[in-house]
Amino acid sequence: MRNLVIFIWKHNFFFLFLIIETICVSLVVQNNFYQKASFVNSSNAASTTVLQTSAAIEEYFYLKSENENLAKENAELRSQLLASKFIVTTDTIHVNKPSIHQKFIYTAAKVVNNSTSRRNNYLTLNKGLNQGVRKNMAVICSNGVVGQVQEVSDNFCTIMSLLHSKTTISAKIKKDGSYGPLVWNGESYDYATLNDIPTHVKLVKGDTIATSPYSLTFPENILIGTVESFERESGKYFYTVKVKLTTDFKKLTHVYVVTNMFKEEQEALELKTEKETKE
């Protein structure tokens, strides 16, 4: 026993190194494999104050293009108002009056930290638990999808960007509805890859890609990008489509966090169904 203590003391540099390195690696593994809440991310108080100031300054550089975007979006929303719709009155009697429920709620948020140059990219937003943001909510901007909420603190949240090796978004070709998983291969921040599109679909360069109706987090028909090119690997019956993203990840400043009001209900029902089939 005494010898052991002497041995450890003699090599204290090595053992201290071992201890600290173990702490580091366990932090990495925890964060990577279990997506657990970790205290070392950019939604903690120390780094957010610095990042917020820097983002506040940076914002001024994008004011013009951001204003143009907002104006465009306003116009679009205005055109969707009931007042700007043409209502056809018919003489038939409505047996089932359709009732309208709110399904998606949009919360505007500001980007305070952003990255595009790494293999796994994250963003930090200035909305958190206090503003109703929860894990796994969808994040979009006026031009397209952005990502999914990963960690939430009281007033901030971090987003797993679309530009991340673990992000998969269910996407569809808008004109005929055939869908597949959209992933990012890490080559360039404005291109992504859409897999598993059956070869009978007649693709044309420039076709619109949007979110599919089968996603629990994303609303349907949120713009993702356009078809840039597509190819069929030999022996496979699926196209691999290169998608040009409409979101400019380098210029993100204002985004929306989307709350799906029926998510829990749908999830619970699907889980129950699966369980019952197993039994």
Binding site: N12, F13, F14, L16, F17, I20, E21, I23, C24, V25, S26, L27, V28, Q30, N31, N32, S38, V40, N41, S42, N44, A46, S47, V50, L51, S54, N113, S115, T116, S117, R118, R119, N120, Y122, T124, T158, G186, E187, S188, Y189, K250
Partner: protein, 172 residues
């Protein structure tokens, strides 16, 4: 001595801020990510206690992790680099050892010495960092390419910083 400690603390804060606010936002393509903050470990005085070397490397890595959202990756790489440092210093030591009160910088030991010493540490740091980030070997060669290119950029920045900030003490 106290003066030296304060200087190192200021250098620490400056390097973290430069890395997190400036270099992080400079996009040089997906393969080039220089990490100038390792300069802090490179130029710590020779007499720094070994335990302090590891602890300060850990604190430095964690501070960078906070800005990069990489929980532990930078810390692991920086601690590894700090662990290697005494060995590298021993490998390159002059015949009669290092002079007391000097630092491993260009002004005391010259460009060839500093270049080989700093390059080994930087390349090892980047190697550990990028492979931990990938956590698999499927993109082995593209990661290796990243390590090499990024290391070159970091070393260039380290050398430039040596000439920018050490002029004053040269006159003394």
């Amino acid at each position: 001595m106290i003066n030296e400690i304060i200087r190192n603390i200021i250098r620490f804060i400056l390097l973290v801020l430069v890395q997190a606010l400036i270099i992080k936002n400079i996009e040089l393509g997906r393969f080039i990510n220089p990490f100038i903050y390792v300069l802090f470990i490179i130029v710590l005085p020779f007499e720094t206690p070994k335990w302090l070397l590891l602890v300060s490397a850990f604190v430095l890595g964690i501070s960078i992790d906070m800005f990069y959202d990489t929980a532990g990756m930078h810390a692991a790489a920086t601690v590894f680099m700090a662990y290697i440092r005494p060995g590298v210093l021993k490998l390159f030591s002059p015949r009669d050892g290092y002079e007391f009160g000097t630092q491993p910088t260009v002004q005391y030991l010259g460009i060839p010495w500093f270049l080989s010493y700093a390059s080994i540490l930087v390349v090892l740091h980047h190697l550990v960092l990028f492979y931990i980030e990938m956590f698999r070997f499927s993109e082995f060669f593209s990661t290796f390419f990243r390590v090499i290119v990024s290391s070159i950029f970091t070393i260039v920045l380290v050398i430039i910083s040596q000439y920018l900030f050490n002029r004053k003490s040269e006159k003394e």
